[in-house]
Symmetry: C2
Subunit: 601 residues, 2 copies
Amino acid sequence: MTPYTNMFHLKFLLQEVHQVNDLFSLEKFSHLNWEQVWMIVESAKLLADRDMAPFFKEMDETPARYDGKGGVVTHPQLKTIIRQAAEQGWIGGAAKFEHGGLQLPMMIYNAGQHIFQAANNGCQGYFSLSAGAAALITSFGNEEQIKTFVPHVYEGRWQATMALTEPQAGSSLTDIVTSARLVGDGVYNIKGQKIFISGGQHEACDNFIHLTLARIEGAPPGVKGISLFIIPKFWPEKDGTLKYNDVFCAGDFQKMGQRGYSTTHLAFGDQDNCRGWLLGEPHKGLSYMFQMMNEARIGVGQTAASVAMAAYQASLQYANERPQGRLPSEKDPMKPPTMIINHPDVQRMLLTQKAIAEGALSLAMECNRLYDLAHASSGDEQHSSWLLLEILTPIVKTYSSEHGSRSAALAIQILGGYGFTTDFPVQQHYRDLKIMSIYEGTTGIQSLDLLGRKVMMEKGKALHELLKAVGDTINKADTYEVLKPYAKNLRDELQRIQSVLVHLGKFATAAELDRYLSDAAIFMDQISYVVIAWQWLKQATIAYTQLQSANFSMQVREFYEGKVHTMKFFFRYELPHAEACAKTIMDPEFLTNLKKREVFV
Amino acid sequence: MTPYTNMFHLKFLLQEVHQVNDLFSLEKFSHLNWEQVWMIVESAKLLADRDMAPFFKEMDETPARYDGKGGVVTHPQLKTIIRQAAEQGWIGGAAKFEHGGLQLPMMIYNAGQHIFQAANNGCQGYFSLSAGAAALITSFGNEEQIKTFVPHVYEGRWQATMALTEPQAGSSLTDIVTSARLVGDGVYNIKGQKIFISGGQHEACDNFIHLTLARIEGAPPGVKGISLFIIPKFWPEKDGTLKYNDVFCAGDFQKMGQRGYSTTHLAFGDQDNCRGWLLGEPHKGLSYMFQMMNEARIGVGQTAASVAMAAYQASLQYANERPQGRLPSEKDPMKPPTMIINHPDVQRMLLTQKAIAEGALSLAMECNRLYDLAHASSGDEQHSSWLLLEILTPIVKTYSSEHGSRSAALAIQILGGYGFTTDFPVQQHYRDLKIMSIYEGTTGIQSLDLLGRKVMMEKGKALHELLKAVGDTINKADTYEVLKPYAKNLRDELQRIQSVLVHLGKFATAAELDRYLSDAAIFMDQISYVVIAWQWLKQATIAYTQLQSANFSMQVREFYEGKVHTMKFFFRYELPHAEACAKTIMDPEFLTNLKKREVFV
């Protein structure tokens, strides 16, 4: 089997870099210890090896497809995958005991998901969607709603989804028109169309629970008039029977990647007979939905990192096994060819991938840890964790997806012509990855969120938390002679971010808001380089500390040396582009404010 | 029909930027004038609109596939396309009159090919391969060989291919083992396997002529022992009959893109009955092949630019027609949504695409012009054109393919979720484009060619020609106040390239050759930014000159203004990354020389 992740590295991230053990002293996680959670993570690997990875290619080659009459045909293995994952706790595992969960920290739950994402990202989507939607019901639903829906979802028998996008509105949720008319007791008559509903219909589950944004008649315009509804495809009656609820799947989008994952078009209430159950209070739907949305954004970022990891692992294996060519210094054509991993340019491509995939995964784990602290700790720690998570969420989502695609392109490049063929998985990784910069808000949307909301929130406190966290890592690195230059480099980059924000600050008034935000995507790129450099300096400092103090097997020593080496590589090959981004932003001319769009002629 | 190129822009490149009219004063092209050649180019557009563009999606969805017994099933339209293209001169058009061609300048021939590449890049491959292979026969073959093969190829009845890659050798032609044993009179018995042979078998032609690299028994090792053979699938006997020549198609690779284009595995001499006809002299095969290879590299670069152009045009149309969201400064949700082209970030993505696609296409046209001068002019002009073309060839190939992929990713991004679906062409552009950085030598190979051969050739004369050409453009731009800062910026970047080369020069000894070349790909990226900046400054200077001197319709004025604007955009958003590349290269540590490959653990 082609390798798709590195368990030793995952353990390093959990145990040494992001210190999952800290969490076990919190009351919520006091029932756990390291040995237990690592066994749980290892069980995910067994499951992925047996039931997911072997079907990665097949599920791409037999895409989910609409049957013309409301159904979506999916690969038969999907049912096994969802049921097995549910049985082992990989749908409801992060939920509280009272809701039938294992009360796992998000770090552990998502360490398992990472394995699934790397093994077969399309099918992992089904259960992370179910988990996120069920969590929304447990957060904001009443007891009856929780009891009615959540257990079925955690058992993997019912699929839960999130239904936001409408054909005419796209990313603009302000313009949602799906309507809801009260018919009594929290139940509404629903009418509307939703598109791009992942997992909205397939053959592996018996029922579909759509958490749907809609507008109650008479609601205020804009996002302040949006409510959230639970709309099951089959309504569970009091007597336990299921009754068709006028939720019709009208199509399944065919895509360039994630082809085994259904992407449906849903019509609610074509026969005027669709009921939705209001979740929480009216008009607060968007803020509720953002619980799931924020988790989903971290999840998409982590998925992108995981798929990039799988492509890296596949190309690394190939580079280690494929003899081809000789070094430029070797002029004798009679000498046998060398393994391609010995070519400096192949090493460059591997190190770039390692830097991106492992850097992004480390950031995702940082976010998972912050999620746990924001939910299970208290006081200042809770608030500062939440603030830091808020500012990192658009970054982990965007960096991992944008640079993940670049990383997978290098995996193809290492395989050469073979990489472009369906005989190898890297082209599928590349295709699958492309959606990650679009899911749950495009890179453009994430960048507006970062610069327009997160940088400014609580008078810059979230940004302050970020600067402080990076500063802590810099201070630790500064204690080692070898790491000092990198610590200084990162400190300079923090300073550069502040200069850019001072420059942009001039435009952060209502009158020039469009100008302020116009280069948000470039600012995103700049800060992303710095944040990933932080993750690398953090990993390298820990690895370097280990190298000073202990005796290891050769392999472990090389692992730590590889960490320090890759940190240096990232600082040398990637980080200089942060300065280029700053240069772009600081330029005085406003070039993307074309009233005369005809210059595109 | 979704637009795929811009004829007004193509005319601008041919007539104003690269002054095709100059060529008509050369004897070889003295039979032509502007009106004629533009009519020829326009005929390509009609053909592409009618016979190619409408089948772009279909040919992707019904990929070329092996029939299990030596044949490759292709889309029925392919036959019409090849015959129509042949009839209108789009296979043999650049050949001399004496070989049945129209003696068109490469600029005009490739202006037509650009249209086909943008309309349906997979099918254009078939005829550019035939054209290149036939040109090789006319260059190095004897009269009988030319008479026997070339007319059939130009008629589009026989497909010609290039057969280099072998399974065990990949990019390393040194390691070719296909063997040739003399059986008499220039004819050899051939035995061997070739893979990734584009157009090696399909349903639209009656015969296949494989220009094949093989090693004559007893030949010296390495590339100096490689000869070039014409190996037809069916051997044309003296009496005009065709006899099966033991060339068996053993498979067709399935790919992530260019799916309508066959990519075959060929077995020569399985029955010990395959004859090859030596082309030119023994052991000179590789140098002959490089005629075709160099043209093919420019062709691949141009194709990448053309596909990026098609993706840009499709996303531009979408951005002009799709209402969604409001500007950040607009807080009223009751206001109707704006067209997405009005969002600064969408403008940024469109301008980035325009800058890449039009910049790369301009560079391809520069190369086509140099090709014409190197073949049809004389004396110093001929030699300096050839030198400049030599150094630009790996650059146009690499920049267009690497940045073209980035450009098509932005096209997907503009369409959001729709861009990922097969309902829109941009995802196909993105998939098709990925092969361009692998065809005819990967980015790694091109970068070694640039830094290891081209920069050093004739004691740096090729590089000198490049610096001189860029300097000429800078001097012209310097005469306008508005363009001065950009001229200065580009001059600084030329200086930076020289500093980098001085730095690298320290390693350019035999002992440190591996180190010298280790960052060749980063140097490629650096010089590419500068070369495309040159093309933009050239276009902008011409556009700005026009804006000073003449009265135009509003539309033409906006076109010129758009050129100046996009130049500014490129200098601000793209060019700063050249400095980042230089910083990477100048770092003293050698990080991609890992003897201990285990750091990848």
